[in-house]
Symmetry: C2
Subunit: 348 residues, 2 copies
């Protein structure tokens, strides 16, 4: 049964159950709903509706004589229902948080690492959930400058500074005969020709240009080219995480096992990045609920994520991980506001 198949009253009941359960993590009864939400029907009617909702997979019962608990499907319905309203509204409290954040970010705008760290920490602080930020991919950002530094006999350290002031480095094997002077020339060449281009563009263009000029067939150049390509091949790997201790004492996780899985995932950059794979940077804000998440370790949680941009170019994602039973309204408002604040700071 699709949401759209539910009649208006049924939807109201479903909404009420989810909201109640979010407020207090206890199975919700028919009488409670009736009174609290002022339904003009008796509890038995609500009971029938709830029974229908259970058949349709929106609610479940811990045991026969207990109230009902929302399933992931119910949360999905709930979130779809409040989503647009949440995106548009903004409470006084949140305005204050964002004002203070924007001020802080503005001050850090020359130090990207601190800036993203601050955003992650503030988000976690404001929500008491787990904050995550995926940093801009180095290959997508514009080159400010590159340096190649000879290190020991056969190693070269490539230091890349992008237009955000983020410094990345990579150690690569090189040929012992290359001198620091050669490396300087190479760096000069790259800097002069490619300043302002993205790393991706550079790698492509470099290949094309050298092919065209037939330099490709020169063995030495070919070697250097290969090295250069490798030096500029960064794998995306930077994610900031903050606030694990906040989600540690949510009643939802009194069973420690789910928390352990998260702790393990946080530790494992690989898994963490996998989490972001499913959040396209081009889409707008996204809410992933429980089982919807392809990353197994996060199936007990919900994730709210939004890309942040520079002008119109998407750079990365800021996200929130909390219990499925989270305050979606507030969380959506906050993640949205945080992404916009980041975008504003990065755009001017």
């Amino acid at each position: 049964m699709r949401d759209t198949m539910l009649d208006e009253r049924t939807k109201r009941v479903l909404y009420a159950v989810v909201e109640s359960y979010i407020e207090k993590p206890e199975p919700v009864g028919s009488r409670y709903i009736m009174k609290k939400y002022g339904f003009d029907v008796c509890s038995a009617t609500i009971r029938n509706i709830m029974s229908d909702l259970e058949d349709a997979g929106f609610l479940s019962q811990p045991h026969t004589s207990a109230g009902r608990v929302p399933t992931d499907r119910a949360y999905r319905f709930y979130v779809d229902y409040i989503f647009h309203k949440a995106l548009l509204s903004q409470s006084q409290e949140i305005k204050k948080i964002i004002e203070s954040l924007t001020k802080k970010l503005r001050k850090l705008r020359n130090n990207m690492d601190s800036l993203f760290l601050e955003a992650t920490q503030s988000l976690s602080q404001a929500t008491r959930y787990l904050g995550l930020t995926l940093l801009p991919a180095t290959e997508k950002t514009a080159l400010h400058r590159v340096d190649f530094i000879k290190f020991k006999e056969d190693l070269v350290i490539a230091v890349v500074v992008n237009d955000k002031g983020i410094v990345k480095n990579k150690i690569i094997k090189a040929y012992p005969e290359i001198t620091q002077k050669d490396l300087n020339s190479l760096a000069d060449f790259v800097n002069q020709n490619y300043h302002g281009k993205t790393i991706d563009e550079i790698r492509v263009d470099m290949m094309i240009r050298l092919k065209k000029e037939k330099l490709f067939w020169d063995k030495l150049i070919s070697k250097i080219l290969k090295m250069c390509q490798e030096a500029l091949n960064f794998s995306r790997e930077d994610v900031y995480v903050s606030g694990f201790y906040h989600i540690m004492h949510l009643p939802d996780f009194s069973d420690i096992e789910k928390l352990r899985e998260v702790a393990k995932t946080i530790q494992d950059r690989h898994l963490l990045l996998k989490l972001f794979e499913n959040i396209s940077e081009d889409e707008d804000m996204k809410v992933i609920i429980g089982q919807e998440n392809p990353v197994e370790e996060f199936r007990s949680f919900s994730i709210i994520a939004s890309p942040y941009k520079e002008k119109d170019k998407s750079l990365g994602v800021i996200a929130l991980v909390g219990p499925k039973r989270m305050n979606y309204q507030r969380a959506i408002m906050l993640v949205n506001a945080f992404a916009r604040s980041l975008t504003r700071t990065l755009s001017d």
Copy 2:
């Protein structure tokens, strides 16, 4: 009462109680001790001894009619007792672990970040406790090369590569009139004069030299000097942490509050560094038990730490955080072996 005041038999009992409690986290009774450790006296005698040990602050009772539990003082006695033996002995299992570790480290010896990460993770993996590694302080390592990169109007990014191949960068305010060319000259100057010196030495020497040559009074030079000093002023900040999820399901922390404190501490670089302040890098291996730890958040834990070196110069510390009720014998052996493996890898 000092340990030395205890007679031989009393010591044996104390040792037995601690060992038993480490094996199984349940209050230890007199009869159990008597039978398991083959004492040739009756349980009442053991009982008397245990009562004495309680008066002396080595044991405590959860309630009147329960067995005894070791206090921090008892753990201290126990660790002092086994310490030297543990340092010297080495099981077959540990030999294997270390062999495999050393192989891995050797492969990573050109990439310090990965090397220390690997060591931290392996330590945590081998012990199922929390692994920590304090990285070499930038100021104590020798300069390989420095670059100054102009970024936007009034910023300079200083990129420092040390002799370990670790790249650090720092964004500092500069004077708009400084050109990239000026910065190149400055970098050349530093590189030519100070290659191989430690950052600390450089900062001191720079000051002395400029004073001597009266250049100190030249306003421009003075400005640049100030900038350079700032650029080379790195605060120590790199700690690797691994394996929080391991300590999450120890029976010792079924009460989640203690774990939360650790989670918070891990998140907070500041606190984490404070932890290492009390572990001198010049001393040898150190065991810190519970209340002995100046960092409040770790008072429910024990820490085993050992410096690792390059030749004879101490570079940093590798440490293990586990429950007070940890397998000290094995943990001490492992931390010691890990530190030695690191030292060996870094020294040749």
